[in-house]
């Protein structure tokens, strides 16, 4: 039964997550169950997404930035965390890999190699926008005990993940990326000059955890449906696991459901590194 005025549930999300198409895909499936509910995604910068929740403009948020999430949780702005998916950060860089990071033993070693590479024009592109990815990158430099920010090859673009990858591709530089955005651009042929050079599914600092939250200010029917939607994602691991496999040839997201306890611990750890 379609009612004339569907209930609209607004969810702010980071642009990079939205651009993979996962959310729209899930929303379509959800609508099959709840035809009266229209899930509306507002793709924005990651920190802006949480800011919108704080101001009460959205009912839920999808983000992947534990340090920020923690801050807003502590402020009492968001609640009811649902970790619904994870994947890994990867280090991408020029195919020739001048810093030889594909031989690195761990991510810290990889960053050290980038730092001490023979330089002509081996750039490192930093998001520089205070996003979760940016925070993680800074954390890794810290673990490595080096500070690159005053180096001429260290470029802060103040941009989204897509733009950072495009810049890395053009300048033949390295950058830290989530695998989803990387695959989306790769498959469309936008970043032919760079490859995923380092990835690891064991390195906790490369773990990229996607969570959904309800905004505290959200009430009534909208909140009920938002909660339903979060539960729907959480309780349908197949959808998350299979999304994009046909199109991209690899898995973009792993459902968090099967790793529930562990992933929560890891999340708390990551939230502490901000």
């Amino acid at each position: 039964m379609h009612s004339i005025h569907p209930t609209r549930v607004r969810i702010s999300t980071t642009t990079s997550l939205y651009a993979t198409g996962l959310l729209d895909y899930i929303a379509v499936k959800f609508r099959e169950l709840y035809p009266d509910v229209e899930i509306q995604f507002i793709p924005v910068g990651s920190s802006a997404a949480l800011r919108y929740a704080e101001r009460g403009d959205v009912c839920a948020v999808f983000v992947h930035e534990p340090n920020f999430e923690k801050k807003y949780l502590d402020m009492g702005v968001i609640e009811e965390q649902k970790i619904f998916a994870f994947n890994y950060f990867i280090i991408v860089g020029p195919r020739e890999d001048p810093a030889n990071i594909s031989m690195a033993i761990d991510v810290v070693d990889a960053f050290r190699r980038i730092y001490s590479a023979e330089r002509e024009s081996t750039y490192f592109i930093s998001r520089g926008d205070g996003s979760g990815t940016h925070t993680r990158e800074i954390y890794i430099w810290k673990l490595a005990g080096i500070s690159p920010t005053d180096r001429p090859w260290y470029k802060e673009c103040g941009c989204g993940m897509d733009q950072a990858l495009i810049i890395a591709n053009e300048l033949k530089g390295y950058t830290l990326s989530d695998v989803g955005t990387y695959m989306v651009l790769k498959i469309r042929g936008r970043i032919p000059n760079i490859e995923a050079l380092y990835n690891s599914s064991t390195d906790i600092v490369l773990l990229n955890i996607y969570s959904g939250y309800l905004a505290k200010g959200c009430r009534g029917i909208e909140r009920r449906y938002a909660e339903l939607f979060l539960n729907f994602i959480y309780s349908n691991p197949d959808i998350v696991d299979n999304f994009g496999v046909n199109e991209y040839g690899v898995r973009l997201f792993y459902s968090a459901r099967h790793f529930d306890g562990d992933i929560r611990d890891l999340w708390s750890k990551l939230a502490g590194i901000g």
């Binding site: 642009t15 509306q40 101001r55 009460g56 989204g160 897509d162 733009q163 936008r190």
Partner: protein, 215 residues
């Protein structure tokens, strides 16, 4: 094919939203322009303010409106944020100074002349106003078209208070921005060219109207 349908949907929504915004803006801008011409006291000040507002950066206006419309904002209770109505309101505010300033200039250019003529030939008050309105109409229409062109090409407001929601508040400019983020340059270029064609059509329309006007 689904993508095509979506693109067309976005284009139609853009035209609709900007069209309504322009119409709304005309509703108050045109009478205001006439008012400023008729009561020409302090006109230098008003002119300066209006012309300054014409150049307001759209992100700034978008941001201010967002803060106003957001649920913790002054007008939050209206629930307008992230609706097409919000974009319409935002764009109508954006183009108001533009429509006023262009109309004002075109009306002022002729009002005195035709006022005197109407008086000289014995028109009564209503007939005088009617004459000035009819003689200045082409310039005013051109102003509205210019306003539409500005509205449809605008990104900041549509993004900040529209939210770029698929199938609901996504317009051509926000769609272009998103397609670029997705790496779909081809789609972005197609949308960009459609937008260009629309603005071409508009500039031709203005040319034709102003030809009638000179006539």
């Amino acid at each position: 094919m689904k993508a095509m349908a979506e693109i067309i949907d976005t284009i139609l929504r853009s035209i609709m939203v900007s069209g309504v915004a322009t119409l709304m803006a005309s509703l108050w801008s045109i009478p205001l322009a006439y008012l400023f011409v008729f009561r020409n006291r302090g006109s230098v000040f008003i002119e300066a303010v209006i012309e300054t507002l014409v150049g307001i950066p759209t992100v700034l206006l978008g941001l201010l409106l967002y803060i106003l419309f957001s649920s913790s904002g002054l007008l939050g209770f209206l629930g307008l944020l992230y609706t097409p109505q919000a974009i319409i309101i935002g764009e109508s505010i954006l183009v108001t100074p533009l429509i006023i300033s262009i109309s004002y200039r075109s009306i002022r250019g002729i009002a005195h002349l035709y006022y005197e003529f109407a008086l000289s030939i014995g028109a009564n008050r209503v007939q005088r106003m009617r004459l000035i309105v009819s003689q200045s109409l082409p310039g005013v229409v051109a102003a509205c078209i210019t306003g539409f062109s500005r509205a449809i090409g605008e990104l900041g407001i549509a993004m900040m208070i529209g939210g770029n929601i698929k199938g609901y508040t996504r317009v051509m400019t926000t769609a272009i921005a998103l397609e670029v983020a997705k790496g779909n340059f081809e789609e972005a270029i197609i949308l960009g060219i459609v937008l260009l064609l629309i603005t071409i059509a508009i500039s031709i329309a203005i040319k034709l109207i102003s030809r009638v006007y000179v006539a």
